[in-house]
């Protein structure tokens, strides 16, 4: 890497840029186009790692490492946690409900992109200085010097911001129980008073053939009852409807028994 202004980088970097850049754009597109949130998250993680590589290529070694560790490692994992919490299998409907929203968005995006490109094109950035001279005293030391002198206030402020954010997240998600938990007896009495569902709710699973909680119990006519599945799963839409399966099973059983009986009849 030269220490004077240059206009061209090494051809190796160019190859790397074109290959990885393509992948990054694909990753970005996948992020916004994948139906399932977990796929989006993984695509984004990929794009971020590529960006980390670009940081390294641009001489921002520290940042590149932080990008991998903090961003891809911590933040993206946080995303995944939440995705799991909300329901990993839940797929987004990509159907647009607001009239004209998608077209407006695309139009604006296109216009904005064209603007940015022309702006960059007109900026006339034909030569660059490179970081050789700055990094000569040690890259991380250089960063540290700036952070703790010129940007010390901003640094302190971001620290405060982080703490605030942490506290804020706790406040938002933590729910203090403000009343005594109802005892079993009280719950039973309430049930009787309301008169909606006197006995306990039916259990999931069909004739104990499944032990998963996401399989609804079947009513005598073979239709599934949503009452048997936990509320959370119902909300996520993660009920595994096995009614058809169960009926098929039943049919198969009857057929098998009929065959056996038939054979027995034949053997008679």
């Amino acid at each position: 890497m030269s220490t004077v202004a240059a206009t061209v980088t090494s051809s190796g970097e160019a190859v790397q840029f074109w290959i990885l850049g393509t992948v990054a754009v694909i990753g970005a597109l996948a992020t916004i186009l994948m139906k399932k949130a977990v796929h989006s998250a993984l695509s984004l993680a990929g794009t971020m790692i590529i960006l980390a590589v670009f940081y390294l290529a641009n001489g921002a070694y520290f940042l590149g490492v932080v990008q991998v560790i903090v961003y891809t490692g911590a933040i993206m994992m946080l995303f995944l946690f939440v995705v799991m919490l909300v329901g990993v299998t839940a797929a987004d409907s990509l159907k647009e409900t607001i009239k004209g929203q998608r077209w407006m968005a695309l139009l604006c995006g296109l216009g904005f992109g064209i603007l940015l490109f022309t702006g960059i094109g007109h900026a006339g950035l034909n030569h660059f200085n490179g970081l050789g001279r700055i990094n000569s005293g040690g890259h991380v030391e250089g960063l540290a010097q700036l952070i703790f002198t010129k940007y010390v206030f901003a640094f302190e402020l971001t620290g405060a911001l982080l703490i605030t954010a942490a506290v804020g997240a706790m406040v938002l998600t933590h729910r203090e129980r403000t009343e005594r938990a109802a005892t079993q007896r009280e719950l039973a009495e309430r049930r009787v008073r309301e008169g909606v569902q006197l006995p306990p709710l039916p259990a999931p699973g069909v004739y104990a053939r499944h032990n998963a909680v996401d399989v609804p119990g079947l009513l005598p006519d073979g239709t599934p009852s949503e009452l048997t599945v936990s509320k959370t799963l119902r909300a996520r839409g993660q009920i595994r409807d096995v009614s058809g399966e169960a009926l098929d099973d039943l049919k198969a059983l009857e057929q098998r028994s009929a065959e056996r009986l038939g054979r027995e009849e034949a053997s008679k």
Partner: protein, 99 residues
């Protein structure tokens, strides 16, 4: 190759992110798109840092990361509590702003 190409890439990623924000309804994906936009900015900062030959761009990118982290923490907390009450992570469900 000219490092300006990094800027073009950053612009492209930023635009993709912005469009994503506009067309996705799932709040989590929406957040990811925002992260994408922030990352695109960071890339531009890093490229600038290289062009100008000083480290200030990288410092800004560094701060951006911190802010993004804080934002994600709070944002995800909001999503979680929202999900608890509404059983949905769709931003369109939270449309009480109209009269």
């Amino acid at each position: 190759m000219n490092p300006v190409n990094y800027l073009y890439l950053a612009a492209l990623l930023f635009t993709i992110g912005a469009v994503g924000v506009l067309i996705r309804k799932n709040a989590i994906v929406l957040f990811m798109c925002i992260e994408l936009m922030l990352n695109a900015c960071n890339l531009a900062f890093v490229a600038f840092s290289r062009m100008h030959g000083n480290l200030d761009g990288q410092i800004i990118a560094f701060f951006t990361m911190v802010v993004a982290a804080a934002e994600v923490v709070v944002g995800l907390a909001i999503i979680v509590s929202l999900f608890r009450t509404r059983h949905s992570a769709s931003v369109d469900d939270a449309s009480l702003m109209k009269l």
